[in-house]
């Protein structure tokens, strides 16, 4: 380690642009463009923030906020930014394979693309998007003032964002890992990969993984300990059940990943022999640890999406959720089963057939509770008053496409079939088929569904539907051809191929990728148009969709203390029940002072410090790593010397807000479901059956 200077491995050649100068090729041009986008976007954002003089607001309202709603929104903004990058990388890869055998990227560059694409989409899009929506909606649904540990929540966000920034930095300085999102050693070990790439992966995974574990603890405690009076477990909205299950998965499934990544780090930094080829290292330990995390991770992501679909189906069919208890049992069964199937990710790596069969059967069993859910959702829609709003289109698209993805999973669960198609594009098609309709559609449905609650105005439904249809179409065009190419034997992750049989499939997939790009653009357009028209689409009363759970019983946007008076729950569809019995929109009998957590700079400080720490570790800048690690410990200890962490919102303030809102309710005209996407909808739903 002494061969490096005081800046470690860092020098001018680490910059992505220097490679373009020494080797002016298309591949390096693409890399430099990506790096420039990061730099330009950063400068532009900082410049705009300064120009509009919003630093103060940003600091006091957002960066130091401990409000679960603000933290949730920041998570989602972060996830959408990362999604843009991950999606563009997907486009470039599709273009490369469509152009093959005359591609324009170097093999290593292509390998970096699929490694970052996978890492980003799982850890920095799906996870933060899920965590963001849960942060926003779950405490409101259970009638709580905040999550159990607001500062911890802030810290989780801080380390996740710092890791995401590290991935962005890897576009400009140095290179990323070429080992795929699963980073199997010994390929990612020091012998075969002495560069900084795998180190970027390791530290991003370790820090964001720690954040996710803490989030899981926070959500579990919130659901178990912070429910409103009368909110029994079996009165919780389905979304909260799925979140509980998913949080338990976070607690149990993240540690194996952290252990695997740290051990890989020990191998690389300190010459340990956990996973090396020589001196007793054992790579299979890594494979087992990684997938011991990896498989529950899939359910950790998809279960909250199931919860969102349950809310959407029930709300937009104006019916109570069908088979609530069976859905709860199915959710929990999936949670348990998810820990019994990890070996199906490496059927071909040398176990005995008996073991493969056990894990194959366990894998197929998961289809049973999932099937129960699909039938429950269909039965929820049956004879309901269905409205084809944006969330509903995502949900129905999910229902149809996810069944196909699930079935291809059952096919792969058979070890004999898996031996034929493993490591081909068939697998790639399968997991995109479950992750895009399953997770992403759910998240986008949730984004459209809860947006009015968060910001006080509805998103444009027409553009939303356009976007949803483009996502469905784009997904089908991109990934259905991959099933075919996979069955023909095209390996995944190949940057080129000589067999032109694959070419037509790749061309169709490329067209599909362009449609997905249009879908992304239409999301942006939807947001911009909705922002422009926000005054027409405001829903101050707070219930634009004739909602059924507690989050719709408060104003939109929700006040910082959530509820003027904590609700008493008597039914599963509490707000629907309240509306029917005339208990909705009543003033509390007594207004009380409300304690909410004070703002805290700790999260922001840890974000900066852990970002510096990770960068220093990647580049072997030991003095900087030491300073930032000590600074992190000092910052945490110093924060324990804050004796008063709460501030009081006086009863008079609560009374003023609530009376103003109730005045608004009285003035407003109730609107039926048919008019919910017109400016007449101010969030006051008419009682209809």
């Amino acid at each position: 380690m002494n061969e490096y200077g005081w800046l470690g491995k860092l020098n001018w050649d680490s910059l992505v642009f220097s490679k373009l100068i020494t080797d002016p090729s298309v591949s390096e041009f693409v890399a430099s463009t990506a790096g420039s986008i990061v730099i330009i976007a950063t400068v532009a954002i900082l410049g705009l923030l300064t120009w509009f003089r919003v630093w103060g607001t940003l600091w006091s309202e957002w960066l130091t906020s401990t409000d679960h709603k603000r933290i949730g929104i920041m998570y989602i903004v972060f996830a959408l930014v990362m999604m843009t990058r991950g999606l563009l990388e997907g486009m470039v890869m599709r273009a490369q394979q469509a152009a093959a055998p005359d591609g324009f990227l170097y093999a290593d560059h292509f390998a970096q693309l699929f490694s970052t694409h996978g890492t980003i989409m799982i850890f920095f899009v799906a996870v933060p998007f899920v965590v963001g929506l849960v942060n926003y909606a779950m405490p409101l649904q259970i009638g709580a003032r905040d999550v159990a540990f607001p500062v911890l929540n802030q810290i989780s966000l801080a380390v996740t964002v710092a890791s995401g920034i590290l991935l962005m930095v890897s576009l400009v300085v140095g290179e990323f890992s070429t080992g795929g999102w699963s980073a199997y050693p010994p390929y990612t070990g020091g012998d075969f990969n002495p560069g900084v790439g795998p180190d970027y992966w390791i530290w991003a995974i370790v820090f964001s993984g720690a954040g996710t574990t803490l989030t899981g603890i926070n959500f579990t405690v919130t659901i178990i300990k912070c429910r409103a009076a009368g909110m029994k477990f079996f009165r919780m909205p389905m979304f909260c059940w799925t979140v509980l299950c998913s949080s338990i998965l976070m607690i149990f499934a993240m540690p194996p990943l952290s252990v695997a990544a740290l051990m890989l780090g020990f191998d690389r930094y300190l010459d340990f022999h956990f996973f090396t080829n020589d001196l007793g290292g054992n790579m299979m330990n890594y494979a087992n640890l990684f997938w011991l995390f990896g498989h529950p991770e899939v359910y950790l992501l998809v279960l909250p999406a199931y919860g969102i679909f349950s809310e959407v189906f029930s709300t937009f069919s104006a019916k109570r959720l069908y088979g609530y208890k069976s859905l709860v049992i199915a959710t929990m069964s999936i949670g348990v089963l998810s820990f019994t199937v990890w070996l199906h990710h490496f059927f071909t790596m040398g176990q005995s057939p008996t073991i493969n069969i056990v894990f194959g059967i366990a894998t197929m069993l998961i289809a049973v509770p999932t099937g129960v859910k699909v039938y429950d959702w269909m039965a929820t829609m049956y004879r309901g008053r269905i409205r084809f709003t944006t969330p509903m289109i995502y949900s129905i698209g999910f229902l149809i496409l996810f069944v196909i993805g699930g079935l291809s999973g059952v096919i792969l669960a058979n070890p004999t079939v898996d031996f034929q198609v493993h490591n081909t594009l068939f697998l790639v098609a399968h997991f995109h088929n479950v992750l895009i309709p399953g997770v992403l559609f759910g998240l986008l449905a949730g984004y459209n569904y809860w947006f009015p609650k968060a910001f006080g105005f509805r998103l444009n439904d027409k553009l939303g539907r356009w976007s949803a249809f483009l996502w469905v179409l784009g997904f089908m065009l991109t990934f259905f051809p991959l099933y075919g190419a996979g069955l023909l034997g095209m390996p995944r992750r190949s940057f080129s191929y000589m067999d032109l049989t694959f070419k037509p499939y790749m061309l169709v997939a490329f067209v599909g990728a362009m449609v997905v790009l249009c879908a992304l653009i239409s999301l942006v357009v939807q947001l911009v148009v909705s922002l422009r028209d926000r005054d027409k689409n405001r829903v101050p009363v707070g219930d634009p969709w004739d909602g059924r759970s507690l989050e719709w019983s408060i104003p939109a946007p929700a006040p910082s203390y959530n509820f003027a008076e904590l609700p008493r729950v008597t039914d599963r569809d509490e707000f629907t029940e309240a509306k029917e019995q005339g208990r909705a929109y009543l003033a509390p009998k007594v207004y009380r002072d409300i304690e909410v957590p004070k703002n805290n700079p700790l999260g922001f400080i840890l974000c900066v410090l852990s970002g510096i720490l990770m960068f220093a570790l990647v580049w072997y800048i030991w003095w900087l790593a030491l300073i930032s690690a000590v600074a992190i410990i000092v910052a945490v200890i110093a924060s324990t010397f804050r004796w008063d962490s709460e501030r009081v919102i006086p009863a008079s303030q609560v009374q003023e807000d609530t009376e103003k809102w109730l005045e608004q309710v009285k003035k407003s005209r109730a609107v039926g479901r048919d008019l919910e996407n017109t400016p007449a909808n101010v969030g006051y739903a008419k009682l209809e059956h």
């Binding site: 159990a148 340990f272 956990f274 001196l279 007793g280 054992n282």
Partner: protein, 210 residues
């Protein structure tokens, strides 16, 4: 949750301001249990790796050459006694004995913890002197992945104790500090349990099967 904190936890006697507890103490303690559950999985996974690596000595020194059971016995006694003293400190706090006697037992615990760490580091240096370094073999990597992980937890506990001692000297036994100490005590007992696992699986199991 609803404004007034519950008083059902017998070890906390709320009432003082500032540093009053704004949250249900039960919830805070429960949150810590959940954290320990996650930490236990972390340890469990590293234990599993260790077990698979027994025998992967690649011709290097193994358990029979490296382990010094005399020193290990002393470490075990130090840690178990520290668990007793942290328990006495908890009882002292619960029955609202003098702050001095409470601090006395915390300091005793801290000293025992530091004694444990000193002996452990001495052991590691002895092992290194005989060529037992993690770079030598997969087995030794697994050993040095697990045992120092526990040591790191103990060091963290010691730092936590030190911070609490400073805080108590500065502002007295605020409720929030009592609650922090309760969690520290839980953590300390947890580390004791892990050590018993390490003694039985890593040292004793390694010696038998290595």
């Amino acid at each position: 949750m609803n404004g007034t904190p519950s008083t059902s936890n017998p070890s906390v006697n709320p009432g003082q301001v500032p540093g009053a507890i704004h949250k249900d103490p039960d919830m805070v303690i429960f949150g810590f249990w959940v954290f320990m559950m996650s930490d236990l999985i972390f340890f469990g996974v590293v234990f599993a790796i260790y077990i698979t690596m027994i025998g992967a000595t690649a011709g290097g020194p193994g358990p029979r050459e490296l382990f010094d059971f005399g020193s290990l016995f002393a470490q075990t006694m130090l840690l178990l006694t520290s668990s007793l003293t942290v328990g006495i400190a908890t009882v002292t706090m619960k029955h609202q004995r003098s702050q001095a006697s409470f601090l006395f037992w915390v300091v005793v615990t801290l000293i025992l913890g530091l004694g444990f760490l000193t002996l452990e580091l001495y052991d590691f240096s002895q092992m290194a002197a005989q060529g037992g370094v993690p770079q030598r073999s997969g087995y030794l990597s697994a050993f040095f992945g697990l045992v120092p992980l526990h040591g790191l937890h103990v060091s963290f506990g010691c730092l936590w104790m030190l911070v609490l001692i400073v805080q108590i000297c500065k502002v007295g036994m605020l409720d929030i500090i009592k609650l922090r100490f309760l969690r520290l005590a839980l953590f300390w007992h947890f580390l004791d349990l892990i050590w018993i696992g390490i003694f039985s699986v890593v040292y004793f199991g390694g010696w038998v099967y290595g």
